[in-house]
């Protein structure tokens, strides 16, 4: 290349699934077009230990990339939907990193960080517990329905050819032939970075179908997508202690 493109170093992370995932991606933009370079990515299956595992994972992925934390120009985070406690760890971490570093924080729908890379008509389903799934449907990488939380049977009515994600594995029986256990289980941190910078659909994004429209997959403020209200019951009149 004749001249150096101005580059943006993105730290991307997601804790909306059973895994903590993170990547360091360099985005460059110039006359020659956009270019993405994945410097490092890591993931760890966290179960319910996102709070313990995320910060060390970020430290490691930065070291793998040969970058210092103060070199980061932007933070990208999956904002769910996903189980609340783990999801909050990622969103709060990203927000605090952005604040401390003085850099922007971009939120991305976590289901998009699976669906945006898939060809054809696909539904992405995550485990929402309580026998439900968090889901969204995609046509060639463009979200056409969701995100929403429902019983897995709802996925049968979407007209998709397959269902991927942890929800597909969990409810393979319900989904009969649609469940695709070979598909991705967790959000891709590289896609989180990619979508956050609004480069979905850009020419030259390696390995990605360039079809996502900016209207459907644009970055959002880093606010968790809970999709459910807190479980709390309004109290009735005080119980009497005497019969």
């Amino acid at each position: 290349m004749s001249r150096t493109l101005p580059s943006v170093l993105v730290l991307a992370l997601d804790t909306s699934s059973a895994a903590c995932v993170a990547a360091v991606v360099e985005h460059a933009e110039g006359h020659a077009g956009r270019r993405e370079c994945v410097l490092a990515q890591r993931s760890v299956v966290a179960g319910r230990r996102h709070g313990e595992l995320l910060a060390p994972l970020l430290s490691s992925v930065l070291a793998d990339a040969g970058q210092q934390v103060h070199d980061v120009d932007a933070v990208a985070v999956g904002v769910g939907p996903g189980p609340f406690t783990g999801l909050r760890v990622g969103v709060v971490t990203a927000t605090a990193l952005g604040q401390a570093l003085g850099v922007p924080v971009h939120g991305v729908c976590s289901l998009d960080a699976i669906g945006a890379a898939l060809p054809g008509r696909v539904a992405v389903a995550g485990d929402a517990r309580r026998r439900e799934v968090y889901w969204a449907a995609y046509e060639d990488g463009k979200r056409v329905a969701g995100p929403a939380v429902d019983r897995p049977q709802v996925l049968l009515e979407l007209g998709v050819d397959r269902v991927v994600g942890a929800g597909a594995t969990l409810y393979a029986e319900v989904l009969s032939g649609l469940a695709d256990p070979t598909g991705p289980q967790y959000p891709s941190p590289v896609l989180v970075a990619h979508l956050a910078l609004g480069t979905a659909g850009a020419a030259g994004a390696e390995g990605l179908p360039g079809t996502a429209g900016p209207d459907r997959l644009s970055p959002a403020p880093p606010i968790p997508l809970y999709l459910r209200r807190p479980d709390a019951v309004l109290p009735g009149p005080a119980k009497r202690v005497t019969a």
Partner: protein, 346 residues
Amino acid sequence: MRDVTGPLVLGIETSCDETGVGLVRAGTVVGQALASSVDEHARFGGVVPEVAARAHVEAMPGTVAAALAAAGASPADVDAVAVTAGPGLAGALLVGLAAAKAYALALDVPLFGVNHLAAHVAVDTLEHGPLPEQCVALLVSGGHTSLLRVDDLARGELARLGSTVDDAAGEAFDKVARVLGLPFPGGPPIDAAAVGGDPAYVHFPRGKGSDATFDFSFSGLKTAVARWVEARERAGEPVPVAHVAASFREAVADVLSAKAVVACQDAGVGTLVIGGGVAANARLRTLAEQRCERAGVTLRVPRPSLCTDNGVMVAALGAMQAAAGVTPSPLDLSADPGLPLGGRAA
């Protein structure tokens, strides 16, 4: 800033419904901010963990920014981050821990996970100077009622002398407030309603008041108040709210202050520190003052805004740990909802 010697410590507290951020340098508060979700819980009559956790996420960046602005500091000025690791609500603690780790990671400064109860004691040093070598602490809030012997606060050397076997004292205030038709949280409205009431109007039971332990019990007291009020209602008589509030408050303050003074005498310690939200209660303060004076015990109670949960107390303890050369916490520090005393968060 008046005193710029010593590290600037950022403290983060999210163990219950208050998002507290404090900045402490050289034993002085240089900035603080507090966001509370108490109004969101009021209609449920108690703190809803998921509501509290969501509110912490929303409030965190703004509260940190407000505390930094109050101190005239920028994030890069922070030399260490301290955070409540427990005890408290698991989901709420996790939000504070994730934020604190991110600040420590981004700023490349040490992280100190601290014990919430120890922080309630540490905050008093900001107002009344260093603690004597040994003291006894009475921590009373909506979630805790504990008597502790404090040997070395910074190193986490605290021994639990006793604690409630059922409801926390503040919880009893909340429940009795509901019986009397007063709003949540119950402490301030009961304190207000008790003005002019006769504290000897009803002699409510002092749970575990005369046993040989330093434990407390407030569940029977709450039931006794409810029974008494219901009997009045059944008889079609008006409930003398001021008298009931004063009599209930007297029962709580009596047993708390009596056991705290005996604990000092028993341990041969000349200083009592009272902390936690219930320490803001007027009657508890008065009764404790009288009894400590009679027993020759020095009483230390921080001002009410430092008694309730806040970030300053966490920063105060973090600063003490840093000064004492305590090893910082690792980035994989866990939230420990039931964090015991006698050991530092690790």
